[in-house]
Subunit: 226 residues, 2 copies
DNA sequence: ACAATTAAATCAAACGATTGATTGAAACGC
DNA sequence: GCGTTTCAATCAATCGTTTGATTTAATTGT
């Protein structure tokens, strides 16, 4: 997995357990994942879970933190650059940055090696939230929403905290997420078997066009002197 | 539940098992749902599953069919009316019908009594498809996508089967679905506790505006004599 | 029309297998 | 040699399924 491998042999087992847990919990409910399946995938002993985490429940929460860190690590470079350029940026700069953000999100959603596991984990927490959702929300979901919303607000000249900006942000980000969440559907519709990097690029461009068009019409509506 | 209650007392247990299964499988994986939990909810005996369906696996597949039928039943009236008006309809009629379809989808996604169970069931099958996905896809997902795509194609003057129409359909329907799938996120962002009928109406109008705007820009791009 | 017979449906009890967790001994690095 | 980490063995609890008996409903014989 794409994580930094710890040279410390003590923490190696812990890291393998987290990676195996993410893969397992990304595809199955908490109750549906057996601790034995995790330790088998991690090539560890059954009691390693109790020893390193205290139990299955604590391992699950640690996996949520591990997931948030992993995604944050994978997107931090691109994301922080966008966020830095976005402060007090003019509308046309925000438009360009929004395109970059969409590209970043699409690529990470479709090409990221743990995107499938992450999507499964996050959705389950969305549908029936546990304590893990708080971790994912504050460290992953909310920052992305705020970044997207601030760009949107920069283009539209409104407050990022406005109710309608939040709703539009959610709807427009849905255009991206649906290609991960409902990937089986769209692949079947296209009679395709997987999205490669080229597909992701094309998809990001399409979504960017749709997104900017939706925003533009709102600009015109607010400034009827057109 | 909003299903037609069978006067036949023989099939009553079967129906209760299906309703209980949908509720259970909508919130938990196949493996995470115990047959004992289902029969307890259904007020039936443990062996009723084997007797009426042959086993847990067959009950699960029957639940998928039950879900497809239930949603179909809930949306059939509004959907068939839209589909009937859509045949060879001019672009402006398609625009109006698309708004009605969005309204229908939003309302059913957010207000439908089994929408939460359905969303959970369908997502799990999207993420790790089993034999149940084929049922859901052919009887539920694909018809909706085709209806949406044909309206889109009617507005844009293109073939509903075109690759780009399918992609745009998927992206735009994502604007709707994300409010069900990621409902926990948007409710937390808004510091809201639930979407009522008024919220759903407002949401449908917002999404319709965003959607039509995205389509309109494409019209202009294709007809540059504007 | 009513008792006898058959079929359909439900029930409690039990099966082996698997679950999360714990234990004390063994192996490890320093 | 001592603290850390891993191991196989074992615990009670729960899993899906099966079983044989019981109850309920329908059918038949007369």
């Amino acid at each position: 997995m794409g994580r930094l491998q710890p040279t410390d042999p003590k923490a190696a087992t812990r890291e393998r357990l987290l990676a195996a847990s993410l893969k397992a919990f990304g595809h199955n409910d908490y109750q549906a994942v057996s601790t034995r399946a995790i330790v088998e995938q991690a090539e560890a002993n059954i009691s390693a879970i109790s020893y390193h985490f205290g139990g299955k429940q604590q391992l699950y929460l640690a996996t949520a933190r591990f997931l948030a860190e992993s995604i944050h690590h994978a997107m931090h470079e691109g994301l922080s650059e966008i966020q830095a350029k976005a402060v007090k940026a003019p509308a046309d700069t925000c438009r360009k940055l929004l395109g970059e953000l969409i590209q970043l999100l699409v690529y990470n959603s479709l090409q990221g090696e743990l995107s499938a596991d992450a999507a499964g984990f996050i959705f389950r927490e969305q549908h029936d939230p546990t304590a893990a959702f708080d971790i994912l929300y504050h460290e992953l979901i909310e920052p992305l929403q705020i970044t997207y919303a601030s760009l949107l607000a920069g283009i539209l000249g409104e407050r990022p905290e406005a109710r309608e900006i939040k709703l539009i942000t959610h709807a427009l980000m849905g255009q991206i997420m649906v290609f991960r969440i409902s990937q089986t559907t769209i692949l079947r519709r296209l009679q395709h078997d997987r999205f490669d990097a080229q597909d992701s690029h094309e998809l990001a461009e399409l979504i960017t066009r749709l997104t900017l068009a939706a925003i533009d019409s709102r600009l015109k509506k607010d400034n009827p002197h057109d």
